[in-house]
Symmetry: C2
Subunit: 227 residues, 2 copies
Amino acid sequence: MTYNEFKKLVNLSKEEISGQILERNRDSIKVKKEKKVIDNLIRIIDATLAICSKKSFQAMSIRDLSAESGLSRGALYSYFTNKEELLILIQSQGREIAYRVLTEQIAKGNDPVEKLRLAIKSHIYLSEAMRTWFYFTYIEARNLPKDEQKRAIESELLTEKIFIDIINEGIKEEAFRDVNVALAAAVIKAMLQDWYLKRWKYRNRKVSVDNYADFVIYVAESTLLIK
Amino acid sequence: MTYNEFKKLVNLSKEEISGQILERNRDSIKVKKEKKVIDNLIRIIDATLAICSKKSFQAMSIRDLSAESGLSRGALYSYFTNKEELLILIQSQGREIAYRVLTEQIAKGNDPVEKLRLAIKSHIYLSEAMRTWFYFTYIEARNLPKDEQKRAIESELLTEKIFIDIINEGIKEEAFRDVNVALAAAVIKAMLQDWYLKRWKYRNRKVSVDNYADFVIYVAESTLLIK
DNA sequence: CAAGAAAAAACGGACATCCGTCTTTTTTCT
DNA sequence: AGAAAAAAGACGGATGTCCGTTTTTTCTTG
């Protein structure tokens, strides 16, 4: 699987994502026409992610968001009840999509070696397709209120659990060496995250997403496969 | 080398660090008595790092800092000209220490394999000894003004260059496989950073700093050493 | 050593500005 | 025309910074 194949495979239209947000937040969204809501949610989220790739969410004012999205401050407050809820809304939706796509993809693998490759590729490709979203989710997690922060941590551990399970399975089937599983999963995750956290670096060096994914797989397999 | 040995080896007293800050910023510090400056710089930096481990630098108000440090708002402004300069001050000093300690340690290695181990251990041990400092430097880098941001990026690339050089040397001496050097250095760096970015995770799992360093070395050597 | 003067450092009120949010008014769409 | 949506404006509160004043420390002089 290459990145282009992945993109065709996984449909991640903005309309669909905003539709899901509407479903989950009907109560707090005051505008009734569904088409309007979806259009404006897209504008709001696009604007938020664009601004927050340059400065922090805290530093982004509602006035900034108004200017970037083209909606007035008053109008914005028809789509979320307060600024913090906007943060939570984007974060929780981001986590939801990531987990869903990841589990869907890995289910296609037949053995641990194939599953590990699929998991690595899916994660990197997904973070590439939703670059700004992933960056935002990671970098702004610490500004969430306590209970949402807890959910973010659970989500991080859940993703890691996927790798832990694959590696354990591989050890049981004697395809992988008997390494410290939790640590192996943790460092693989660290490598995956580097792709969207240090995007500027890889762009400058002209490292393609396929190059990067292949290299992470190489490192993981060098560490895990029976010699 | 273990973490405890490293800590004894590298003297990182707060007084020394604050003394260096004073040297580099004499112009903007209005207080004259050296002892006073050093004492209060320690209080200010400790307070800043403590607050910013819980919320962002932006979210920390000068009033917060005043309460935590025990200095009045007016007094604080005798040690920096504005809030942004305080951020720059801590960041640039953090980078300076990190680079100095790292290069000092690696110079002790005799061959690429030994140097690589030393570089990995030094980096992880240093980030452990200066945990809050490293976290702050990483997480708040994006809130720096443009020109300081550039310096932070240069510093990141400089650290990575250390690993690139070691790996290149290893390949030339036929101790390492002929891998993509830049990518190998990048993913090693990603693993190193995970130690201080996800400190809570490793603490919960009771992974010691020595455990972690050994595992990263294991991954790096599995990837690089000739089979 | 003591005591008063001078210098240094710390304090904290004041101010302009900006921000999130709420309310009221205007515009748009059916 | 009437309901829905957007825009505009107002408001209270918080923030960074300045600066006149007070407190602490250091120096000087007997």
